[in-house]
């Protein structure tokens, strides 16, 4: 994607990512975040959650994938900010949960800096209450 090809309002292709319990275990190992609310139902319900939830950082990483797939260059993402609104509850079944990412260009700055405003949902609810990525396009 090149700066000349985008304008305020340009939409990114919508992308959906499945998240299963196995994905949470894999992410725990790769990231080093072994908080049991991400793999143990007993702990999750003890702290008042409906069940095991995805790492917020995994949801953030999936939303970034939608941006870097659009730019075609993972190095283009220079600034990225999210606010975690609602947890992604991941049921203990083969389907798991689905995280859906939509995005729209919110601002086009000088020198090819483009702000993408993301809408990230799971089960029809917004899971990130604010999610903005700034990419540096050629």
């Amino acid at each position: 994607m090149r700066a000349a090809d985008v304008a305020v309002g340009t939409e990114l292709p919508e992308r959906s990512y499945p998240v299963t319990r196995a994905d949470l275990v894999r992410y725990a190992g790769a990231s080093g975040d072994f908080n049991p609310i991400h793999w143990n139902d007993r702990t999750a319900t003890d702290v008042g959650l409906p069940g095991v939830i995805a790492h917020g950082m995994l949801t953030m990483a999936l939303a970034a994938r939608a941006v870097t797939a659009w730019t075609g260059d993972p190095a283009a993402l220079v600034e990225y900010h999210v606010r975690f609104g609602r947890p992604v509850v991941v049921p203990d079944d083969d389907a798991g949960a689905t995280v859906t990412v939509r995005g729209k260009v919110g601002a086009v700055g000088d020198g090819g800096r483009v702000r993408v405003d993301l809408t990230v949902t799971s089960g029809g609810e917004k899971v990130l209450s604010l999610a903005r990525a700034t990419v540096q396009l050629a």
């Binding site: 894999r26 190992g29 790769a30 990231s31 950082m57 260059d73 993972p74 190095a75 990225y80 975690f84």
Partner: protein, 148 residues
């Protein structure tokens, strides 16, 4: 219990060096389902203009989560960690993290606030090479929910 506002600006010593490995980057990319070859194939990364494979944009959390642990362990930071949730996260990248980087992470307390009975603690972890080249910053806002 509200956090002490004089904590703002408190910084901590740099972490031990974290050496970024190709296999760790590939493992992290696989865990988030990212298949772009720049994360696992050094030739593909070089063809894209990088000296070696590069990490996905949120990889820095691997270092910064443990680096921020020193703030958590600071006895002056009176936060009930059994009630903490991750409120916000920001990454600012000066360049991608890449295999072979020898990185140090330096935490600083950026803000403390109290909102509606909840304590908010914002830490920033600056990541640089051991020779001082800035690579990225990771800012995390933690929320300790007030006792209901």
């Amino acid at each position: 219990m509200a956090l002490d506002p004089t904590l703002v600006g408190r910084s901590y010593p740099p972490s031990a060096v974290y050496e970024v490995g190709r296999e760790k980057i590939a493992e992290f990319a696989a865990a988030i389902g990212e298949t772009d070859p720049v994360h696992r194939d050094a030739d593909a990364a070089r063809a894209a203009g990088h000296p070696d494979v590069i990490a996905p944009p949120t990889f820095a959390i691997v270092l910064t989560l443990s680096a921020a642990g020193v703030v958590v362990e600071d006895p002056d930071v009176d936060l009930d960690y059994s009630r903490v949730v991750h409120g916000e996260q920001r990454f600012t990248h000066h360049r991608p993290i890449r295999a072979g980087d020898r990185l140090v992470a330096t935490p600083v307390i950026e803000a403390v606030r109290s909102v509606a009975g909840n304590d908010l603690l914002t830490t920033r972890v600056d990541v640089a090479t051991e020779t001082g080249e800035p690579v990225c910053a990771a800012t995390s806002m933690l929320v300790a929910r007030g006792a209901s």
